[in-house]
Amino acid sequence: MTSGGWTWLTDFAVIAILIVGIWLFRYPQRAKAGNLVAATAVVLALVLVVWRHPGLETGLIAVFIAAGSATGWAVAYRVTMIQIPAMVAFQHGAGGVAAFLVAAVELVRESPDPTGLAFVAGILAMVVGAATFSASMIASAKLANRMRSTPVFLPRHNAVLIAAAVLAITFAAGIAGASPVLAVTCATAAIATAAILGIAFAIRVGGADMPVLISFLNATAGLAAALCGIVIQNRLLIACGATVAASGSILTYVMCRAMNRGLSKVFVGIAPPGAARPAEFAAMEEKAAPAAPPPTSSADPFASALAALRGARSVILIPGLGMAMAQAQFEVVALGSRLEQRGVQVRFAIHPVAGRMPGHMHVLLGEAEVDYAKLFDLKDINADFAATDVAVVVGACDVVNPAAATVDGTPISGMEILRAHDAAQVIVCNLDDGPGYSGVPNALYGNPKAILLFADAKATLSRILAGLDEPQ
């Protein structure tokens, strides 16, 4: 279909523009330009395709694109930064739908050579696209708290996954040489079984591992697009899809490394609480339980916290997902500014898996107008805790749990944590003394340095802010 030097040249011009967009994306100040450049590349690609194929129903195309675009625009302007992960997961799903529909129609209509690359790619595009769609819907529901985020285990879970994958591929392969009616039936059956595969895959992943799942689905959505590109022999589709697959793979790897867990371990799911827990848990729970109150709680912990902050010269704030749940990001940033006005050195420490998708915490604090120069990644700030007067933990649990280094066999064992316990004092503004997503009791709560303010983080921080304003 597309041959000749001119099409190669224009294709590569579009790909080059896309690369420039991604190139710019490496710097926070230029990322906005990068995004616009990448969007331009996609629009140009669309214009090129319509230009090269004169026999298209352009009127109908314009109507459906307008409908989808208007919805996308409206939704994109309504979502809050807390809803971003659920929204992104939903969009991975939308991409999956587009991929499996296009691949299905191409396979049924063109019936390519069953031994050729296009046919194999078509089968895979259908299966990967449909599984990405259903898994993304589950991920989106879990991320939006519309579904319990604890892992769900089916009997013989791995066997179910393998059977669904094999069946889906078999049905898809049945399209080859089938009559039109049979081909459509096969395609439908393949999509349905692949969707079951995606659901079974995603329900087993727990709430704490959502950053990995959403990154992985980013990669599979890109892969489905690239496979679609092979089916219709379109270089632009292949190039864009492959780039996205690379990006998703990188993020998946970064998230796994930050949690010190292999990909297979993440996807096998964390055993539910109660089932085969290490013996150390019981001892730790006793230590962390409020039944044995830490020394600081003999005085009013709120007064101790206020005194600690008044006397501090350096403070590190550690926000976690609980901060977002309590909508306390504005109070956290306000506390930072207030302390700075008092001449305190204030920094924010961001754990790579804080929040529900890679980099989520930066966006949440950005909404509260934080100064980005004050946000530090784990590796850049962890050594500084020892020389810090007060660490303030706001809605973070697993990422500051020293048990990650001291207890083996837990879901967070070996994960690098923010060393809040190295600071002279630690103020904990968490909702309660319960464990984080991992289910591991927080050893920090038993530390005599810790001042525990268990309540809604937004209310606690408002009280602290008011307290700092009062004359001493």
Binding site: V49, A98, L251, G359
Partner: protein, 97 residues
């Protein structure tokens, strides 16, 4: 056979270039990065457009309509959300301007 090699070559090269560039994106940009690449993955919109040839059957057009609307939702929604997020990325110095 040459065509097959070319297609796979485009895939391999793009993956490699994408990997080299994106592995240098800092952690703080990871959420907008995923949102943007999500929008780029909806490039399947090109495939959806091609389903609307004038000889397409009603069923093909109906499926094509769904694919087209989904992909357009994904492209526009993805780039717009990314733009909104990136507007939040400011330092005190840039805010004063």
């Amino acid at each position: 056979m040459i065509e097959v090699a070319l297609l796979l070559g485009v895939f391999g090269l793009s993956f490699a270039v994408g990997y080299a560039l994106i592995s240098r994106v800092p952690q703080r940009l990871h959420t907008p990065l995923m949102s943007m690449t999500n929008a780029i993955s909806a490039i399947t919109i090109l495939g959806a457009v091609l389903l609307f040839s004038t000889e397409a059957t009603v069923l093909e057009q109906a499926v094509g309509a769904a694919a087209l609307a989904m992909a357009a939702f994904n492209v526009v929604g993805g780039f717009v959300i990314t733009h909104r997020m990136l507007r939040l990325f400011k330092t005190r110095a840039s805010r004063r301007e």
